[in-house]
Symmetry: C2
Subunit: 332 residues, 2 copies
């Protein structure tokens, strides 16, 4: 069932007194009400939060869907990120996957499993972060589920629709194409490195780690510009371009001199004595979009050309294999 069950009429209720209360004390249905109270109604929902399932009217019959799990102490730490940050990030990473198909995000479904002693304020903060990031992408939370577990586990499914153009997969890159990136690279990794070192400054990389800012509109824009392939940079630029190279059967070469670290990244690198280039090549979680375009495609300035596609296999940096770690893999 879709556990978030309150209909529109619940939204006019006063919010429960939440300070100091745990979700176990509030109970399932009270928790659902408290979460749903943070969620603006979706204008394109024929049936919204509160029934067995939501019903959404879409303009293009090609619907886009992706799902992710986030596990406490693996994907987030409650001492490093506030509940609103966790909500924001959980939403962002899925909404970015929708954008990476060249699609427009329109809805989220969210599952939250948590221990009964979790403060209600954590759950509502999480809900607010979700709603905020969904709003930034033009999407709405349309359903969900709550459950008990020994640690916090979150599932997010993002739905979107194509907007006229065809989906942009990982498999269409052609030799001769240019490789370009929209959004930041390495900033989230720098923020994570700072937090791991017990630091919370420079503030901007730490903020970027807590709340990635994927460039959602760049996804459909790339599709309209004729992108031949696209991917959300979540595992790390080289690792994700590796997925594109494998799916397309091509070689991708990244030109390191085109990756210009910005001020906050340089500041973090100086503090930690680290390599900003390493973060840009191997750090994921900024959820930039990487795409390939036919040579001569008229790219706006926020699509930064960083390399080129060749015949061959794999990913290289300046023509050679990169010696660092390529990116993140589970169970490794």
């Amino acid at each position: 069932m879709s556990g978030i069950r309150n209909g529109p009429r619940y939204r006019t209720q006063a919010r429960p007194r939440e300070a100091g209360i745990t979700i176990g004390e509030l109970g399932e249905f009270g928790l659902i009400d408290a979460i749903a109270a943070r969620m603006p109604a979706a204008p394109d929902a024929v049936v919204g939060i509160g029934d067995d399932a939501a019903v959404l009217r879409v303009a293009d019959p090609r619907i886009v869907a992706t799902t992710d799990l986030l596990v406490q102490d693996r994907h987030f730490r409650t001492d490093w990120s506030g509940p609103d940050d966790v909500g924001c990030k959980a939403a962002a990473q899925n909404l970015a996957d929708v954008a990476a198909m060249g699609a427009v995000p329109n809805a989220l479904l969210v599952g939250l499993a948590a221990p009964p002693d979790l403060p209600v304020t954590w759950a509502t903060g999480f809900a607010s972060g979700l709603a905020e990031e969904a709003g930034r992408a033009g999407a709405h939370v349309i359903g969900g589920d709550v459950s008990e577990a020994s640690l916090i586990m979150i599932s997010v499914t993002a739905l979107g629709t194509m907007a006229g153009a065809d989906p942009v997969t990982r498999g269409g890159a052609q030799p001769g194409d240019v490789v370009a990136v929209a959004g930041r690279l390495g900033c989230s990794a720098a923020g994570l490195a700072l937090l791991q070192a017990g630091l919370d400054e420079p503030a901007e990389p730490v903020a970027a780690h807590r709340r990635p800012r994927p460039p959602y509109p760049a996804g459909p824009e790339a599709a309209a510009l004729g992108a031949t392939s696209m991917i959300d940079v979540s595992d790390g630029l080289l690792a994700d371009l590796g997925h594109v190279a494998a799916a397309s059967g091509v070689l991708i070469d990244v030109q390191a001199s085109l990756l210009r670290p910005d001020g906050p990244l340089l500041a973090a690198a100086e503090v930690l004595g680290a390599s900003p280039l390493d973060w840009m090549l191997s750090g994921g979680e900024d959820h930039a979009l990487a795409a390939t375009f036919p040579p001569g495609a008229p790219l706006p300035a926020h699509w930064l050309v960083i390399g080129r596609v060749y015949s061959g296999r794999g990913v290289r940096v300046d023509g050679t294999n990169y010696p660092g770690q390529l990116g993140w893999q589970h169970f490794s």
Copy 2:
């Protein structure tokens, strides 16, 4: 990202040698390949498993979406249910929610978080159960995610489409309507009670607990028959009719004499000295569909009339409040 990343070409690969291997040894991408190898391609997927997101072409622009979390030792026990049973049940409970809107299920997205020492055969068995139950409902697994966690946690999102008729919500029951049920009641609860007593016979209730058999086609059928409200019986008949009564602003009266326990239920009740009626009224997880219809609606025999809708509030059995537990609630 959508972690299940293999494209169609992976499907022709030999399956990895899985006996005795753990998912930690196999690694993320090997695990994804092993899971995806169990999944038949979705004919209506423009982009299937293996990209940032799946893209599905739907015939009716009103898409139906619902999500659930299942947590080990809370929603399932690995000693009571095989991995294929868990996959089947995880799929069924979400597909039934789609059917309960009067919709036709067409896709699942599935997240699996698990400890690295989980045998690969558990994960592939789980995948086979998912695929089998999806197939029973006419749906396909189109995407997913895998992650590491200290216990098994599963998320399932089901997508469907309306098939011409309007969505049937919980909120449309009218005084004078009849209440009818398609599918089994109480059988899963009886099976759970047997397992809790250390028994695995009579076999049929135990099988019903492990693998519910929701009557998926009855959902769109009810919509076409003019159902005024519908719900998936997951928490228990009275609890779920309570949601319908609350959403519709009506009183629902169930006539106990119309709930005729079948042979397996009577056999389980005899073994345990329990009340079959209690299981039928309060047991969830068979995922029967309960709906209200205008008086005189021409109901097929598999829609069993069990009560009637009146002006008022709440749910009664034979005109009085039922003394037993109404159903399941989390955090209680």
